[in-house]
């Protein structure tokens, strides 16, 4: 009994010998050394060591993995994954630290999970500016000449009220009346973008007036 206890106490490690095949789920809280085969699912809170004779065909969840043998399957490690010179792996690695040594062979994806924050912050800034532009552009398309005029929004509204009628009116007065005119005007589109369009039509006339 004493011998057994010592073994269990000091030997915080499990070894799967070279001729052993385990097929199924394996989980535990201690180091695991694989010299044989493990297939299925493997989850440990400590370190998985796959020795050169070891073969793991499993989805693996561990803290650390050191691979000198063969792994087919995905590994997700909370700390690190190391592929040594003799290691061969096919599958995805998800771990904050990934070490692949010269001589190792690997096919799959690597995700260290920290690349996203920077791009995310940059993108929003770029997006804001383009959003404002579209509003201006539609007007320009309708009446290219006005594009410069559109810079002064106050004038546009006045014209909106009377596009057909639109004849010489004092610029100052129209501005005040414009609100009332809009309400009465049948076509008057409620949304803000449309007024700009209407204004364009008016603007043409306005320009003429200004020129005069």
């Amino acid at each position: 009994m004493a011998a057994t206890k010592d073994f269990a106490g000091t030997g915080e490690s499990t070894i799967i010998g070279p001729s052993i095949l385990i097929n199924g789920k394996l989980s535990g809280d201690e180091d695991l050394t694989v010299r044989g085969r493990v297939e299925g699912e493997l989850s440990l809170t400590k370190t998985l060591i796959v020795e050169p004779s070891g073969i793991v065909k499993a989805n693996v969840q561990v803290r650390n993995a050191i691979i000198s043998g063969v792994v087919v399957g995905n590994i997700s490690a909370t700390e690190s994954v190391e592929l040594t010179r003799e290691g061969r792996m096919v599958g995805d690695i998800n771990s904050p630290r990934v070490i692949i040594v010269d001589g190792a062979s690997f096919r799959g994806r690597v995700d260290m999970g920290n690349a996203e924050p920077r791009p995310a912050s940059e993108r929003p800034a770029q997006r804001t500016s383009p959003v404002s532009r579209p509003m201006v552009r539609p007007a320009a398309v309708v009446a290219p000449v006005r594009a410069p005029v559109s810079v002064a929004p106050s004038r546009q509204p006045t014209m909106v009220a009377r596009p057909p009628m639109g004849k010489p009116q004092p610029p100052a007065a129209p501005v005040i009346a414009s609100k009332g005119d809009r309400e009465t005007s049948k076509p008057a589109p409620p949304p803000p973008p449309q007024p700009v369009l209407v204004g364009e039509a008016g603007k043409k006339k306005v320009l003429l007036k200004k020129k005069k």
């Binding site: 057994t4 269990a8 499990t14 799967i16 052993i20 095949l21 989980s27 695991l32």
Partner: protein, 107 residues
């Protein structure tokens, strides 16, 4: 000694097979088939059908055991299941419930 050790905090749900000695200190459910010896230590808990050459049990086993050579139930072990082997030893202090069959044809 044995090459393979299933540590005390390890749980295996599935099949274990191989050609070498196996020491179990943890939990195994499913099936175990070996051509060598199996040691189920005091901390171990096994719920499996076992097919081996020799088996030495100090821990807990639930399941049928078939050995081509010998089954040894040590003191303090707890075994529930049928045991079939040409040689079966049950030590004083062992707890066992199940059928015993020593009438195995030699292979």
């Amino acid at each position: 000694m044995a090459n393979t050790v299933i540590g005390s905090s390890i749980t295996i749900d599935g099949e274990i097979s191989g050609d070498e000695d196996l020491v179990i200190q943890g939990t195994v459910k499913g099936k175990i088939s070996l051509k060598e010896s199996l040691f189920v230590e005091a901390s171990a808990s096994v719920e499996a059908d076992i097919e081996v050459q020799n088996v030495e049990i100090t821990g807990k086993v639930t399941g049928n055991i078939a050995a081509t050579d010998k089954v040894e139930l040590k003191a303090d072990c707890r075994v529930v299941g049928d045991v079939r082997a040409p040689r079966i030893l049950i030590a004083d202090g062992a707890s066992f419930k199940g059928n015993v069959d020593m009438d195995v044809k030699e292979r």
